[in-house]
Symmetry: C2
Subunit: 167 residues, 2 copies
C-alpha cells in the first residue's frame, strides 16, 4: 500500500502562506534541508498547479503529479497531470507503482488528500512567526485525529518540526 | 511594567474553535491543568464578551476584564468592562495596578492585544486534531516575530505546549 506523507511549513497562527502568490521564503534553512531530505525518500511529489508553478525550478527536477481541473499547461519530462474529475489519483499512483508520495500543497491539495484519506503522516514545521490573515492548511469540514510521533527543535530561534500520524 | 501573557489552545491546522459558539471541550486535561496554573499566577483575565459568556462559571470566580464595544451586560463583583473606544485598556490595567494579565481570547481580543503591542508571551497548546474551517488566532495584518522559549509534550497522544516570547 502506498504511503502519503504531507509536508507543511506553517506559522504559529496556522497559516501556510499570506496568499496564493506568497512564496515560502519565510521558512528556515533547517526546514528547507529537512524538506529536501524527505523529498529524496519519496518517489513522487503531489502538488497543485499554483504550488508547482511557484516552485517550478526545484520541482521540475523531480517526479511530480499536478492535481488540477485545468487543461495541461506544460509538457515536462517528469511531470504528470491528474484531473481527479476524470481519473482517480489512486489509479495514477498505482499505475506508476509509487510507494511513497510527498504531498506538498497548497490548501486545496492538502484538503483533497485529507478528504480522500490520502494522508498517512504529516510533518509540520512551525516557524516562529504570525501572519494574521492567510491560507489555512485544511478546508475539509471534518475533525481529524492525529498522534504525535516525535518533535524536534530545529534552531536557536525556535522553529519546531512535529511529526504526526493520522489515526 | 505590566506583562501580558496570551494563553491559547489550537489545533494542528491553527484553529482556536470551529465557530464562535464552539466551547473548548476538545482540549486535554493536561492543558486545562496548565491553564488553571497560569491563571492562578495572573491578577486578571482579559477576554471578549463571547468567551466570557461561554466560560461564565469558571471566569466569574476570577478578576476579569471584558473588552467590548457593547453596553455593560452583567454586574458581577469581579467583572470590569472596558470599551477601548472610550477608555484605554492600558489605563484600566494601570488604575487597578495589575502586573500580570492573562489574555484568553477569542480572535478579536488576541488580535487587538497584538496590534496594541499588549502580548509579551504566548503559551500555545497544540492539540493533535484538525478542524478545517474555523476561527484563527490572529486577524492582525502584520507579520510578527517570536522566539520559542520552551516546548513540552503534555501526554501520550501528543498535545504539545509551546512557550513563545514576542520579539
Amino acid at each position: 500500500m502506498s504511503k502519503y506523507i504531507a509536508v507543511v511549513a506553517i506559522t504559529i497562527d496556522g497559516k501556510i502562506a499570506k496568499n496564493s502568490h506568497h512564496f515560502s521564503n519565510w521558512t528556515c534553512k533547517e526546514d528547507k534541508d529537512f524538506l529536501h531530505t524527505i523529498l529524496d525518500t519519496c518517489e513522487t511529489v503531489l502538488v497543485g498547479n499554483s504550488t508547482y508553478k511557484m516552485a517550478l525550478k526545484p520541482l521540475s527536477k523531480r517526479n511530480c503529479i499536478v492535481l488540477t481541473r485545468s487543461f495541461k499547461l506544460k509538457n515536462l519530462p517528469l511531470l504528470t497531470y491528474c484531473n481527479p474529475a476524470i481519473e482517480s489519483l489512486k489509479d495514477t499512483i498505482k499505475k506508476n507503482k509509487y510507494k511513497k508520495i510527498c504531498v506538498l500543497g497548497g490548501t486545496q491539495i492538502y484538503s483533497y488528500c485529507l478528504e480522500q484519506n490520502l494522508i498517512n503522516e504529516l510533518y509540520l514545521t512551525i516557524e516562529p512567526l504570525t501572519f494574521g490573515p492567510g491560507l489555512s492548511l485544511f478546508e475539509t469540514k471534518k475533525t481529524s485525529q492525529w498522534r504525535l510521533k516525535s518533535s524536534k527543535r530545529l534552531n536557536k530561534r525556535g522553529s519546531v518540526l512535529l511529526h504526526y500520524i493520522k489515526i
